[in-house]
């Protein structure tokens, strides 16, 4: 198990390195000069050169990259536009010259929003997706199954940016059934927190639930054919209990893995949802950074998103191993 863990971590680190290198290389080729953005439109060429030096943009890209990676591990000191040294403790994801703060701090500020969206959306996905998938599998071929499948297919086909706006305008601004989407910290006003995020949760959850419903249903149906499910029933276990105790457990593997990927992706920022509902999470930060050519923030958010995916995929693998002793001891 220890060896498995070490190998898994090494793999994750390698993936993250590859991603940061790609992101670094790609955004280095981006259209406009980050130094110019930091320096402002009325910047003289001499000042621009100074800014470039203090930002380290005059260094070869490889050494910029190694500095960056070094910063993540040990932290480093970054020079601001005017040469002021700014300490950036590990894990240093760079310093944003547009936001005037370390990228990690900018992310930390917005992470609660993204986490809140992710948590709620995930709950909706679980209830709506996995729940309806279970129900559809247990009542396969009947009206419930067809109804749920149709509902989920609708979810799979509708777009967040269409549904999000339509519902927002219909349910919030025309009728006032829902509170306007906004974020208040859970710690201060939990009720407001939930109310303000309810619509984004439902929309994001509904749109993503379809995949889970479908997967749950097909996994359940496939697992039902296994002998051990029949054995359980032959023991005298009721149908529902059999499916919850045996079939569901057998069906869980791929679901958990997909969920791991989903959680990672959600924590990396729900770009479109955050844009549609005007919530300032990590996704909005990333999109703004791309638009503002804020290179350190772009690379930082890309890395963060990748980090979450890698971590949660690994967590999912561990959960699968825990669920399935055959994997655990393999």
């Amino acid at each position: 198990m220890t060896r498995y863990l070490i190998k898994r971590v090494a793999q994750a680190v390698a993936v993250l390195l590859a991603i940061s290198a790609t992101a670094f290389g790609l955004f280095y080729a981006a259209p406009s000069d980050p130094a110019l953005i930091a320096c402002g439109p009325k910047c003289t060429s001499a000042q621009l050169a100074a800014v470039r030096t203090s930002m380290g943009l005059d260094q070869p890209i490889v050494s910029q990259f190694t500095d960056y990676v070094g910063g993540i591990v040990t932290g480093r000191t970054i020079a601001d536009v005017d040469g002021t040294p700014i300490p950036c403790p590990a894990p240093c994801l760079g310093y944003s010259y547009s936001l005037h703060q370390p990228v990690l701090a900018a992310i930390e500020d917005r992470l609660p929003v993204t986490v809140s969206i992710a948590v709620g959306a995930l709950a909706v996905i679980l209830v709506l997706g996995v729940g309806s998938g279970l129900a559809a599998a247990l009542r396969r071929g009947r009206a419930t199954d067809r109804l749920l499948s149709g509902f989920n297919l609708l979810g799979a086909s509708v777009q967040i940016y269409f549904l999000g706006y339509v519902l927002q305008l219909l349910l919030v601004y025309s009728t006032g059934l829902f509170a306007p989407p906004r974020y208040v910290p859970f710690t201060t006003q939990p009720a407001q927190w939930a109310l303000g995020l309810l619509l984004p949760w439902l929309v994001l959850g509904f749109v993503n639930a379809a995949v889970y419903a479908r997967l749950t249903r097909s996994q359940m149906l496939e697992t039902m054919h296994h002998g051990y499910v029949r054995t359980a029933r032959a023991k005298g276990l009721g149908t529902l209990r059999t499916h919850l105790k045996y079939t569901a457990r057998g069906a869980a593997g791929p679901l958990v893995q997909l969920l791991g990927l989903e959680v990672g992706a959600l924590l990396g920022g729900a770009f479109i949802t955050e844009t549609v509902f005007g919530l300032g999470g990590v996704g909005k930060l990333a999109v703004d950074a791309v638009n503002g050519n804020d290179l350190p923030t772009v690379v930082g958010t890309v890395l963060l998103a990748a980090f979450f995916v890698v971590v949660f995929v690994a967590v999912a693998d561990l959960v699968v191993a825990w669920l399935d002793p055959r994997v655990r001891f393999a």
Partner: protein, 551 residues
């Protein structure tokens, strides 16, 4: 024996609803099983025998299955057909229990065997504590011959025999009135099969449980059942005390079924009876060649062959074959016998050039072919002379290809015949294996298992090889089909003067078909010799044990 049977089945008809309309699986079958009695349900695949077993527990998908007739249980005559699910739930596992064929599939991989057995107890004894149930489960495991300490193991940690024992323990923990055992030993090696059957019999007679034993194997029936019911296409053909049924069957099908499987008493090399041809004429020229023509020379041989399978991750490599020396002489059929894991298939793959030996010599016609697995060119040359017939007639045929494509593939590779000629040759080959040229454009799934195996044989014969390696070519087939294929192979062997390496776990088949026998155990050669020598006077205890286990 009490007045009323433990299980009373009357006019049972089971119909499956399929896309193409209702398909009857069981038609009007009636039988009784008395307490303490063992009734054998014998039939080939598709005969409906397993369906009867499942129907007795109401385990069919009610949405797609219609069950008619009556299944009554015990003195009270509790009706199971159309009983509500709540009633069935109480009966399942407590009054009627079931042992399934594939124990690995039948046991949940996610729970320990102890927990699974304990659960079976607790369902019907809800007041029992978890701990007590586990203790009972452990005791039951001890009873079926598994150390109680292993109760906390997961199924995949147990051997096949132990798993089957665990399943039996689970079925019997509530002392059911009726035990339904569906092919309980089919997946097991002969020796283990013997042990498990003994265990079932012992427990069953101990508790006086009525048992319904479902099997395709006449040998199992003969060894276990008081009475036997023969099923074919969902209908009961013949019923009677086992002994009578085996010695003087009235129905021709029963006769064919009994005769189709060679036993240790069948004259070797004789034509086997089949359903279509229950009383075959003796062969024109009986093959009773017990002494090989040594002078014809060695065709293929391995010397001091070692094959290691690489270990997972950094584990040590696992040896599959540990220094075996063997040869196949020209015109000879060598039988390779052993239990699963004995290395017999590995040797076949090495000889076919599909696997690289770790060490040792591999020669075909005097030429070193040990590198064939890694050299496409060498393997191609070798395959001109050595062809394989596989065990699974479905898996070994590409499902997306037509029969013509399948049979002509070797011709494309090894000859420069044009398409028309290849087609003609393919038609000839099909005729040769008892199919017709009209089958050329069909896909494998349109054929039965036996027909598919014929296609496989036709493919192997296409380039007129000198050696055919047949790896369990009949073990996936029903007995009557097995007989047909064996008959075909014997005919072809005569006609084409083939050399064969015949691999099987079934000693009776090997005895019937082969000239010389090599016995393998765990990668080592235990015994090799002429057929009659090995069977009549086995020199090692292992061979003796194997022979003793043959039912």
């Amino acid at each position: 024996m009490s007045a009323r049977p433990a299980l009373r089945v009357r006019d049972l008809t089971v119909t499956f609803g399929t896309a193409r309309g209702p398909v009857p699986a069981v038609r009007g079958v009636s039988f009784d099983v008395a307490p303490g009695e063992v009734l054998g349900l014998v039939g080939e695949s598709g005969s409906g025998k397993s369906t009867i077993g499942l129907a007795s527990l109401g385990l069919h998908d009610p949405a797609r299955t219609r069950v008619e007739g009556s299944i009554q249980l015990g003195d009270a005559g509790t009706e199971l057909v159309d009983a509500p699910e709540s009633a069935l739930k109480r009966i399942r596992g407590s009054r009627v229990a079931m042992v399934f064929q594939d124990a690995l599939d039948a046991l949940s991989p996610y729970h320990t065997i102890g927990a699974q057995i304990a659960e079976a107890y607790r369902i019907h004894h809800p007041k029992t504590g978890r701990k007590e149930a586990l203790e009972r489960a452990a005791a039951m495991l001890e009873r079926v011959g598994i150390a109680a300490a292993r109760a906390s193991d997961h199924p995949h940690h147990l051997s096949g025999g132990m798993r089957q024992r665990a399943v039996i323990a689970m079925a019997l923990i509530n002392h059911p009135d009726v035990l339904i055992a569906d092919e309980p030993t089919t997946a097991l090696d002969a020796r283990v099969q013997h042990q498990v059957l003994d265990l079932i019999r012992e427990l069953q007679s101990e508790t006086g449980t009525a048992m319904l034993l479902i099997t395709h194997d006449v040998g199992v029936v003969a060894a276990t059942c008081h009475r036997t019911l023969v099923l074919r296409d969902g209908e009961a053909l013949e019923e009677g005390p086992t002994k009578r049924l085996l010695t003087s069957p009235t129905h021709p099908y029963t006769r064919a079924l009994i005769g189709a499987a060679p036993t240790l008493n069948t004259p070797p090399g004789t034509r086997l009876p089949t359903v279509d041809d229950p009383k075959p004429k003796p062969r024109t020229k009986a093959r009773l060649r017990t002494a090989p023509d040594r002078d014809r020379g060695v065709l293929a041989e391995v010397r001091d062959l070692r094959v290691d399978y690489p270990g997972r991750r950094r584990a040590r490599p696992h040896p599959a074959v540990k220094g075996v020396s063997l040869h196949v002489a020209r015109g000879e059929t060598l039988g390779l016998v052993g239990e699963s894991g004995s290395g017999k298939s590995t040797i076949a793959r090495v000889l076919a050039g599909l696997r690289r030996p770790t060490s040792g010599e591999v020669r075909f016609d005097g030429r070193d072919i040990s590198g064939a697995a890694t050299s496409t060119r060498l393997r191609r040359e070798l395959s001109r002379y050595v062809q394989l017939v596989f065990q699974d007639p479905y898996a070994s045929l590409n499902p997306r290809h037509t029969v013509e494509q399948i049979v002509t593939t070797p011709l494309r590779i090894h000859t420069d015949l044009d398409a028309a000629r290849r087609r003609k040759r393919a038609a000839e080959l099909l005729e040769q294996v008892g199919l017709s040229a009209s089958h050329l454009s069909r896909h494998p799934h349109e054929f039965s298992g036996g027909q598919r195996q014929r296609i496989g044989i036709a493919r192997a014969l296409a380039v007129q090889p000198r050696l055919i390696i047949a790896d369990e070519p009949v073990s996936a087939l029903d007995v009557s089909v097995q007989a047909q294929v064996l008959n075909l192979l014997m005919d072809l062997r005569e006609e084409l003067d083939l050399s064969l390496l015949f691999i099987s776990h079934d000693l009776a088949v090997v005895r019937h078909f082969c000239d010389r026998i090599a016995v393998l155990k765990a990668g080592e050669l235990v015994e090799v010799g002429l057929r009659d020598t090995v069977f009549d006077a086995p020199s090692t205890p292992y061979t003796k044990e194997l022979l003793a286990a043959v039912l």
